[in-house]
């Protein structure tokens, strides 16, 4: 059974040294976690190992023998398998076709469908996975799709399994199921490499832990020697205060609702809708597995898609059929889930992005012309006060790092003291340091009496920031709980509706 050693792995993208002289050793029959912040180079290591990137230097040893991996096919032949962050599935094909893709059983040139189906069924029985092999993949939930990815590796007889951030898309209950599978693999003598940035998960399942920072190896330790504090310090390189949970005292329970939603149908086919209020000085967190109506809610509230039934009131004004511009004028601000598509114009200058949506204000224009001086001053102040690292305000917004882009969106949306803020996945792809700063801004808006709707796939974020938590499932709320009644387990169960 395979033990893996990596010696001096390096990979550069242009001027960026993504991985720099990186060593790694994973024993056979073990679960080895690779942790680090976003952009630390974890995924790059995995992709080099799986033959998707050609490393600039370094070597791989399996059981002490140097191996050459030039393509995924080489990696597969050596028994290396990988579950990618973004699933590698073909949605219109059925489950069993996806499993055998690339190693299809044949009869002459013909695809031996029946044999493939039998083999897949047998494999599912062995690992007691219950998926309909004939179902088209597009009908599967994200959790099942991940099982299917694992099944693909088993079909190819992989013995060294690499998982790139597998828990990001799963509900807590499904994560436990995944960890059971990890343990089964370890007991069978397989090697599991688990890339993650959620430390509680890493500590729950790993035997050994390696920390990366800025493409370099920082430390490798046994599970026994690791604590969350220690790992955080190693990942970030400094101490990071965990966001202070909002105190009950700050909550203005008497405050009038700022946003009122009445029977809003999220999906075009929805018969029923959701109803809720968000009061001033309150953060309402929306939890749920991705794809249960979060994106639809976001688009309906901001006016990017038309409301089919239900009503939206902002500060008492009915904005159900009002265009985006009027909604913003009524005091709505919006941090979209996808900052490159909806949040920013990546090819336009940082300066232009910073006033986007506010460009009609008379302080920024005279007649049809932009007041360059006034805009310049405004943007410089904004960049400084939000700590946005941009070389100057004329560079393209798309060239900023993820964290800086997100700060730019935050800065633009918060600078005008909105009455209501919709924050969708505000810290996705942002590192631990940037995350703390964004959370602090959200809490400060709440202290100032702003109403905030926080949609996030990160349950820890929801639990630490929200005053109340609503759980979305299939376009409806399964529950709305005050934070004091919410726990990770309870929310997790509600996300899957396996408890009432």
């Amino acid at each position: 059974m395979p033990s893996l050693s990596i010696r001096g792995l390096s990979k550069t993208f242009g001027a960026l040294r993504a991985v720099d002289d990186f060593p790694f050793d994973a024993a056979s029959a073990s679960i080895h976690a690779l942790v680090g912040e976003n952009g630390a180079g974890k995924s790059t290591v995995a992709r080099c190992l799986y033959g998707m990137y050609r490393p600039d230097g370094g070597e791989f040893l399996l059981d002490g023998k140097t191996v050459s991996i030039r393509s995924p096919r080489d990696a597969m032949r050596l028994g290396i398998g990988m579950v990618h962050q973004h699933f590698m599935l073909v949605p219109s094909l059925s489950v069993f076709e996806n499993v055998v893709l690339g190693n299809e059983p044949r009869k002459g040139v013909r695809f031996a469908r029946d044999r493939a189906l039998d083999e897949v069924r047998e494999l599912m029985d062995r690992y007691s996975m219950d998926i309909d092999p004939l179902a088209p993949v597009r009908t599967l939930s994200v959790g099942l799709r991940q099982r299917l990815e694992i099944l693909k590796l088993l079909y190819r007889r992989a013995t060294l399994l690499v998982f790139d951030e597998p828990t990001a898309v799963l509900a807590p209950e499904e994560i436990l199921g995944l960890f059971d599978i990890f343990s089964t693999f370890r007991d069978e003598g397989k090697t599991v490499i688990f890339i993650a940035h959620n430390l509680s998960e890493v500590l729950a399942v790993s035997d050994r832990i390696t920390v990366m920072r800025h493409g370099r190896h920082v430390a490798t330790m046994d599970r026994a020697g690791a604590t969350p504090d220690l790992l955080t310090r190693l990942m970030v390189g400094r101490n990071v205060p965990f966001p202070a949970a909002p105190g009950e005292d700050a909550l203005l329970r008497s405050s009038a609702p700022v946003l009122e939603i009445r029977d809003l149908g999220l999906f075009p086919s929805s018969k029923e809708g959701v109803s809720f209020d968000v009061r001033g000085g309150e953060i309402l967190g929306i939890a749920g597995i991705t794809g249960n109506g979060q994106k639809e809610l976001e688009d309906l509230l901001t006016g990017l898609s038309p409301v089919r039934h239900g009503r939206i009131l902002l500060s008492g004004t009915d904005i159900t059929r009002r265009p985006v511009r009027e909604r913003r004028d009524t005091g709505m601000a919006f941090i979209p889930e996808d900052r490159l598509r909806t949040g920013l114009a990546p090819l336009a200058a940082v300066r232009d992005n910073a006033i986007l949506g506010h460009h009609r204000e008379t302080r920024f224009r005279s007649g049809p012309f932009v007041r360059r001086g006034a805009v310049g001053n405004f943007v410089r102040t904004l960049l400084a006060s939000y700590g946005i690292a941009a070389a100057h305000d004329a560079i393209q917004a798309g060239t900023l790092s993820g964290g800086n882009m997100q700060r730019l969106v935050m800065a633009r949306e918060l600078e005008h003291s909105p009455r209501f803020l919709l924050a969708a996945q505000p810290t996705r792809g942002v590192d631990i340091g940037g995350r703390a700063a964004i959370h602090e801004r959200l809490l400060s808006l709440r202290r100032d009496g702003g109403a905030i709707l926080l949609i996030s796939a990160d349950l820890d974020e929801i639990l630490s920031l929200s005053d109340r938590i609503a759980v979305l499932l299939g376009g409806l709320f399964t529950a709305v709980l005050p934070r004091s009644d919410a726990s990770r387990d309870r929310i997790g169960a509600l996300m899957l509706a396996s408890a009432k």
């Binding site: 995924p72 590698m88 996806n98 893709l101």
Partner: protein, 302 residues
């Protein structure tokens, strides 16, 4: 009956072209260079036929020309990942001009070329066939054979499975150890052979002459049928038949004294109507089933 026979003759070149196009579409490449490939093939069929003697030589020359054309398209759009529309448009215009220049060079004419020494493709007449199926070109039968073979390959081979994966999720295919680039080239080569046959049919069977612009939008109609079918062979064939029937009807109407300009518009009007109707029936965002593969270029690979 005459209308059916006319339709069959109309459908044949469309069928060759659209079937090849459907496969490239499956791999995520909408081949919009078909019009140029067809025209070039028509010219080379005449050239080969005239210089080497015999229709087979003509067909082979036509196929060689359209293969070269599609390989260039592949180099630019698949390997170098240029924009399909820019390359496709340019190559269509290029093909037009190459045909014109070569005609000047070889035949010292412009506009058109015909010669009694050009051997037309044979027509097939067999005693056991009903009368209305007799006397159709060998290319018609070849198209039917190609159709059946491609349907088989599409449905029941590993190759057919992988073609669709290349268009729908190329990363899934690549991570399974199969090169999507290779699938795209294979589809483009098959497309090249077929569009070559279509061009040869036009100039050495449908007409026995080369006329400037003789592909007359047939390549584009095939592209429309491919878009209509979105990589699905069955629907592509339905599209082809619709358009072929419309063309034949247009010509038929002409002989009944309709204004020829109006009558010849028929297939093109139908193309517009059908494509609009299709979009209307399936609003893009909520379309069930397979996601549209080719909206332009294959994604950049880092």
């Amino acid at each position: 009956m005459e209308l059916v026979r006319a339709s069959i003759r109309m459908v044949t070149p469309l069928l060759f072209t659209a079937l090849g196009g459907a496969w490239t579409q499956q791999t995520g490449i909408l081949n919009i260079g078909q019009e140029g490939a067809m025209l070039l093939a028509s010219f080379f069929a005449i050239l080969g036929n005239y210089l080497l003697g015999g229709w087979i030589a003509g067909v082979l020359c036509a196929i060689a020309a359209s293969l070269a054309y599609n390989i260039l398209f592949g180099l630019l759009c698949v390997t170098l990942r240029s924009n399909i529309w820019v390359v496709g448009m340019t190559m269509n215009i290029l093909a037009d001009d190459i045909a014109m220049i070569l005609m000047k060079f070889f035949f010292h004419t412009k506009g058109g070329f015909r010669d009694p020494s050009i051997v037309p493709m044979p027509d097939i007449s067999l005693p056991f066939l009903p009368e209305w199926l007799n006397g159709l070109s060998v290319a018609v039968w070849a198209a039917i054979v190609v159709l059946v073979v491609m349907l088989r390959i599409d449905r029941s081979t590993v190759f057919g499975l992988r073609l669709k994966c290349a268009g729908e999720n190329e990363d899934a295919l690549a991570s399974a150890g199969v090169s999507p680039t290779r699938m795209r080239y294979v589809a483009l080569l098959v497309n090249g052979v077929l569009v070559g046959a279509a061009g040869a049919y036009l100039s050495t069977s449908y007409l026995v002459a080369f006329v400037v612009g003789m592909s007359a939008g047939r390549g584009w109609i095939a592209v429309a049928a491919v878009i209509f079918g979105n990589g699905h062979l069955g629907w592509t064939i339905v599209g082809v038949c619709l358009f072929g029937l419309a063309q034949a009807t247009g010509i038929e109407l002409q002989s009944h004294g309709f204004s020829s300009h109006l009558a010849l518009m028929l297939p093109y009007l139908l193309v517009v109507a059908v494509l609009v109707a299709k979009q209307w029936r399936l609003p893009g965002r909520e379309r069930p089933g397979r996601s549209a593969p080719a909206q332009g270029n294959p994604r950049h690979k880092r």
